[in-house]
């Protein structure tokens, strides 16, 4: 069976524009959560978010693409370009069926959609952009990435809320194992507009605190919900042998296991499917719980969900049996971007030999028997479990292993501005 490895990473996150900037902030524990600045949130019960500052799509994309794209697509297109450059992968137009695209989004292009719907109501149908026909669809990033890079391999879009980023990585692994040499995998979301925020309020899962230092406290004793963020990551997933043949500059790591489960219906009394997803992913990767060096948690920061996750980890690893971290405490929850960004961060942690911290936790909630990493921990990181949950009962788990066994290059080229 061929192995699916990650050969390129592109990151656009509140913590950094580019993978290196993101990693530097993340390992230092610098949170990017702050007051919402993209619209006047003064009348909303939720006023904090993780925004990407200092990113002007006009300086990265052709002007033809700007009027037809939502911010979530602009972020995905730019991160894709960086990931391809990082992997030194160019699309061979004689073999364009060899390149697949899998993206995940939990909201679609909400900012674009809201703007055009407002025009529809106030100025009439003739004023609505013709680009509305596709720009706010969940699947738009797969389309735009395929068109821009002239790819004709398998293309799909997955929508499983916050679990989507991992589901996309898992599907990319499946495509590679089925014979597609290279798959661009994007988990990117951005819906920091009134419609995007309001649509998330009824879930009751967003924190209403105003202080960025205490709003999002995963596994904390006074956890009050999470904060939304924007961005995500794009990963180039390749068949290991194909990557070696073409002389890929580096292998960040292998996607060695993936599994997804659904929760039982609410009120059934049965336990969440998270633990089963994790166990199945370990099984797929052919590793034992003892082999896992660190877990990147879903980290909902809602007391009941935190407890369910802590219990799932305890069941698998024993009390305090494995280091657990949630760097998303610095970015907020990115929807589909979360899983993709966690995978990118985990791969960068392997390279550095450091587990990045969970910030702003405060006191750990009583009853959680987990070894939560709250300051950077220097240690060998060779095998990582990444977890994600989406509203509606989605659970996903990915196991990553370092690039041992392939021609791994540890050196990072400093001159590459894309990273």
């Amino acid at each position: 069976m061929s192995r699916a490895v990650v050969t390129g990473v592109g990151v656009l996150a509140p913590t950094g524009v580019g993978a290196e900037a993101h990693w530097a902030a993340t390992v230092a524990g610098r949170s990017a959560i702050g007051p919402i600045s993209r619209f006047d949130a003064g009348t909303y019960p939720v006023r904090l978010a993780g925004e990407i500052a200092d990113f002007d799509p006009r300086s990265h994309l052709p002007s033809r693409l700007i009027p037809q794209t939502d911010r979530m697509t602009q972020l995905a297109l730019v991160a894709t370009e960086w990931a391809l450059a990082d992997a030194e992968l160019t699309v061979d137009d004689r073999r364009d069926f060899d390149f697949g695209v899998v993206t995940s989004a939990s909201a679609g292009g909400f900012e674009f959609g809201q703007r055009e719907l407002q025009k529809l109501w106030t100025e009439g149908p003739a004023t609505v952009s013709a680009y509305m026909s596709f720009s706010w669809f969940y699947a738009v990033n797969t389309g735009q990435i395929s068109i821009r890079h002239k790819l004709r391999g398998p293309a799909s879009a997955l929508v499983t809320d916050q679990a989507g980023g991992l589901d996309a990585v898992g599907h990319a692994r499946r495509l590679v194992r089925d014979g597609t040499p290279a798959v661009i995998t994007a988990g990117v979301d951005s819906s920091l507009c009134p419609m995007g925020l309001v649509s998330q309020l009824p879930s009751g899962q967003l924190s209403r605190r105003r202080d960025p230092a205490t709003a999002y406290r995963p596994f904390g004793a006074d956890a009050s919900g999470s904060v939304v963020g924007e961005g995500g990551a794009v990963l180039i997933v390749e068949d290991a042998a194909a990557a070696r043949r073409r002389g890929a500059p580096r292998v960040y790591g292998e996607i060695s296991g993936y599994a997804a489960t659904f929760d039982p219906p609410p009120g059934s009394g049965r336990e969440s499917g998270l633990s089963r997803a994790a166990a199945l992913a370990l099984d797929q990767a052919d590793v034992l719980p003892d082999d896992i060096d660190v877990v990147f948690a879903d980290a909902a920061a809602c007391p009941r969900a935190d407890l369910a996750e802590a219990q799932a980890l305890e069941k698998l690893f024993g009390p305090g049996g494995v280091p657990v971290t949630a760097p998303k405490s610095m970015t907020g929850r990115l929807g589909a971007g979360a899983g993709a960004l966690d995978v990118a961060t985990a791969l960068l942690a392997m390279r550095a030999g450091v587990v990045p911290p969970t910030v702003n936790v405060g006191d750990l909630a009583p009853g959680h028997q987990i070894d939560l990493v709250t300051s950077p921990r220097r240690m060998p990181v060779r095998t990582v479990l990444v977890l994600a949950r989406g509203q509606g009962g989605f659970n996903a788990a990915v196991v990553l292993r370092d690039g041992g066994g392939t021609d791994r290059l540890d050196t990072v080229r400093d001159e590459d501005p894309a990273r």
Binding site: I66, Q68, A130
Partner: protein
């Protein structure tokens, strides 16, 4: 506005559909097919809607199928515009 000009068209297209790198709208592009300039049918649909709003003239949807160059677009609009205002 008494006459719709190619410069009006260029301005509106830049605003609502952007400009292809390399191809561009600079210079004498009146007879260059839209396709070569990097515009697809959606870009033309969007342009037609904007032109219609600016001139307060209704342009038919099939305009997109009928005109294939900027010069033809301008001529079509002027034909319509003059017909509706006189």
């Amino acid at each position: 506005m008494s006459q719709f000009t190619i410069d009006d068209l260029k301005r509106i297209m830049r605003e609502c559909a952007g400009e292809e790198e390399g191809a561009g709208l600079d210079g004498d592009i009146g007879e260059v097919p839209f396709e070569q300039l990097g515009y697809d049918s959606l870009a033309l649909l969007e342009t037609a809607a904007r032109v219609g709003r600016e001139l307060r003239v209704s342009l038919p949807d099939d305009l997109v199928a009928e005109v294939d160059t900027p010069a033809a677009f301008v001529a079509f609009v002027n034909g319509r515009f003059l017909a509706q205002t006189h």
